[in-house]
Symmetry: C2
Subunit: 364 residues, 2 copies
């Protein structure tokens, strides 16, 4: 048995370390940057643990629920419940509280649309959070628009980012990026938790990105059942985007209204939609981006004569080899393709903020 | 005692009627128009009762809390709690749920900023809700802007409504209304629960209002303690509004940048601020509006040579005589003053939506 000692020792050390770590929560918690005004909780520490707190005098139990994993809170003598999660990845996470079986938003947090609901969000500080920080630089505007849609007999909403200078340099025209959210998110997801406007303001101020317009609308025109993407009919959303929204944007904003100056990108389900629409309509966009949203094969796009760039990305905790292999194959076929892997993040918004930050420097 | 019989009978009838009414809730509940996508609860019936429902398997009690008045919900065998409020005034109300002592947002409702928090809201249908309905008419845009503020060393947010046609008729310039929220609300309150953009879109489509720009920013620059308005220092917000925001708007939007084409209006605390700023700076605005936010005396504004209109309003359940008497006194002094009393509403947003609908038809 002697030869197994080192392994046994290693196991013992790992176990002891784990226990120490669990009992030694680093007490440098600070309020999350996306708390409601003046609220002290939730908080996050340097390990990425989330500490929640709520008054619930008569509750039997209260839990912090991050992505379906539940952490018990403990009640003090005044009826205030407090508790921590394990360390979380850097960036943005949706969460909720569970009070005696009721899943509810945390009144301490701002609310964000994700997981098919308006609910709580937490921001775990990251080394690169500067890319979407609010700085003293010229800021673009985000316009909330309602555009006419005959195909759906409604007035869908979109948000349009116009870069700094748009309202002063009134003769200048701009390229446009159509940027789509993921499954069970909506048109607020990119401007809110995605920080698309601040990422662009900062890049433009640093001279790292050309000023362009970004259009973000709701992508779930027809009902999409979770897991039902294989049977998904892209036509209803394609009609809204290509035949209704693009003409409205070109008529109402100072766009350069041609294929060479138009990009489409989406995250997750929005990447899936981007792929289908760009393949169905190779005459509309010249830049294609998929963030954690699938890949192109060289065969699919070989007739796309006006294609200028394919950008594919995902988190290192997703399946980065799929993205890397796809981009290698595209490059080998002579396509201008770029891959980006977000280090230490999974299928969440920090991966996509970083992806936009990378892609924006390559566009137009 | 014989002469007291009629009174006793009346008391008895009132009591009996009350009991009948409580046991005879009209069962025509429909989901509130401001529910989260796809959510069936909360609901409202034709009496204006609010019915809330939530799953809370292990809760001891659940209450619906509208403006501090709490209504008990009842649990069924599956752990779902359901219950109704008494009839509410027409229009918009903030509310929350109380689960075993925890005050939390209702996951069924969209969230709105009011009462110093992002929380739940309910819409009780009104006979005049058509004034802010989403219709198939040309829609203006709401722009989210961050403007530089040296006095606060920050980039405060504002929302700017530009009317339909603003982005097409690129030579046209527009008058501007600066429109302020109330205590513990923020710059989202007028575009969200106030429906300011839809009220304007509809009025403009009907030819009842001239197209103008509306600017809505955060009005609580310095801390204001509830009940502490008498000691309130208006200077910090006045500096942000008059010396920083107005120049930014005039530089970034196609405004008619003079006093004759500039209005200021606010609701509640925003009316209080409007009154102070217009009195301190009679050189900036020509139209003054106070919605449930105090009154002017003829003496205060007798030197205001460029004043074109004073508009004062409130709900019939507030103190309408104060508004009526003030406007009579202003008129007697030769001022162009208009009063408006919102029938059947109190110190809530339906009063202010109606007030904007009236005022907008008188502006510019």
């Amino acid at each position: 048995m002697k030869k197994f000692y080192p392994l046994a020792l290693l196991f013992l050390m790992v176990s002891v370390f784990t226990v120490i770590a669990q009992n030694n929560i680093v007490e440098d918690f600070k309020p999350s940057s996306v708390n409601q005004p003046g609220r002290q909780y939730p908080q996050v520490n340097s390990e990425g643990r989330v500490r929640a707190q709520i008054l619930a005098l008569d509750a039997k139990y209260v839990q912090l629920d991050i992505g379906g994993k539940k952490y018990d809170l403990v009640k003090d003598s005044t009826g205030v419940w407090t508790g921590e999660s394990t360390p979380q990845d850097v960036g943005f996470h949706y969460y909720q509280l569970n009070i005696d079986g009721a899943s509810v938003p945390d009144p301490g947090s701002l609310v964000f649309f994700g997981a098919c609901r308006w609910g709580s969000g937490i921001e775990v500080p990251s080394a690169d959070q500067d890319i979407f920080a609010m700085k003293d630089v010229p800021h673009g505007h985000i316009q909330e628009i309602y555009f006419p849609s005959k195909s759906t007999n409604s007035s869908p909403r979109a948000f349009v980012y116009t870069p700094p200078g748009y309202n002063q340099e009134t003769a200048k025209r701009y390229p446009v990026l159509y940027l789509q959210h993921g499954y069970c998110e909506n048109e607020t997801s990119w401007p809110e938790q995605g920080r698309a406007n601040l990422i662009m303001d900062n890049l433009i101020a640093e001279g790292k990105a050309k000023p362009f317009i970004i259009v973000m609308t709701y992508g779930m025109t027809n009902e999409i059942k979770f897991g039902g993407l294989r049977n998904f009919d892209i036509k209803p959303f394609q009609t809204v985007l290509v035949d209704e929204l693009i003409p409205y944007v070109d008529a109402n904003f100072r766009t350069i209204a041609n294929q060479e100056n138009r990009a489409m990108t989406g995250l997750s389900m929005g990447g899936f939609e981007t792929r289908l629409i760009t393949l169905n309509r190779p005459d509309v966009f010249s830049y294609y981006g998929l963030f954690s949203g699938g890949v192109y094969t060289p065969e699919e796009i070989k007739a796309h004569s006006k294609l200028k760039l394919i950008f594919e990305s995902c988190g290192s905790k997703e399946r980065p080899d799929g993205v890397r292999n796809s981009v290698e194959a595209l490059k080998a076929a002579g396509v201008n393709a770029v891959s980006f892997i977000s280090e230490g993040t999974a299928h969440e918004f920090h991966t996509w903020r970083r992806s936009l930050h990378q892609l924006a420097q390559l566009l137009f």
